[in-house]
């Protein structure tokens, strides 16, 4: 266990991001897909903060704050759409929502 460098943080962020990508690609439950997107946004935040720490500037912290604000807006609108969808179609499975396809 040597010293922790920026590469460690970036590797963790890459792993978390692609676990999120896997969730979006593989899962069919819309709630889980939304939470995977939140996970991906957090992984990106980790990259910003790690670079901010290792370049000694704080711009990354401000951008991480903006990403969090956007994630909050996304979560609110996404969940409102989800509730609407469930009210009209009584499903949260992406496979059952094929109105635009057929």
């Amino acid at each position: 266990m040597g010293a922790i460098t920026i590469q460690h943080y970036l590797a963790l962020s890459a792993i978390l991001f692609f676990i999120g990508v896997f969730g979006v690609l593989f899962r069919r439950n819309l709630i889980v897909i939304m939470m995977s997107i939140e996970l991906m946004l957090n992984a990106v935040n980790l990259t910003f903060v790690a670079f901010a720490r290792y370049t000694g500037t704080m711009d990354g912290h401000v951008i991480a704050f903006f990403v969090m604000a956007l994630a909050a807006a996304e979560a609110g609108i996404g969940l409102a759409i989800l509730v609407m969808l469930f009210r009209n179609r009584t499903t949260v499975q992406a496979d059952d929502l094929t109105l635009m396809r057929d």
Binding site: L12, H61, M68, V83, M84, Q93
Partner: protein, 164 residues
């Protein structure tokens, strides 16, 4: 010491993320995600990002996850609605392979970043200094974000109403 804390927090974050994408019940997944987000907050603290650490706990692990968990509980899905269509093992292997290959490539590319010293000034990442930066250099993005949040609030109210 930093290494031990980092590896513990990173392990919790990765396990939480893996549980999120693998558990069938979205509520269990949400709690796994909360644990991942809290350990990410610890990693932000490890990176001297005091302001982002506080926001992560308050906004992410607090507000956003409470919103998601409330929605899951309000929808009150039964077993039948939670079933996911069975997936072919080929699709599983291809998706895992694709994600693992991409993650490996990205990590390889990150390895080319030159060694950064990481000298930081006094008060780095404190609420005061980040706030001063946010309201000087980033003033216009800050105003645009407030507009985005306003539009989101109006949009959510319109969407959630039964009839317009």
């Amino acid at each position: 010491m930093e290494a031990i804390i980092f590896y513990i927090l990173a392990a919790v974050a990765v396990v939480g993320a893996l549980l999120l994408v693998s558990l069938r019940n979205p509520l269990s997944g949400a709690f796994a995600l909360v644990s991942a987000l809290v350990s990410l907050a610890g990693i932000f603290a490890l990176l001297n990002a005091e302001f982002v650490f506080i926001l992560q706990v308050l906004v992410y692990a607090g507000a956003i996850m409470v919103l998601i968990i409330f929605t899951i509980m309000l929808l009150n899905l039964n077993k039948e609605e939670l079933r996911e269509a069975p997936v072919s093992p080929i699709r599983l292997v291809v998706t895992i392979g694709l994600c693992a290959a991409c993650a490996f490539g990205v990590m390889k590319a990150f390895g080319n970043i030159p060694y950064l010293q990481g000298e930081i000034a006094e008060g780095f990442g404190s609420i005061e200094s980040v706030g001063a930066l946010m309201l000087s250099d980033f003033l216009y993005p800050f105003e645009v974000i407030s507009l985005v949040l306003l539009v989101a609030v109006v949009g959510v109210v319109l969407l959630a109403k039964k009839a317009i």
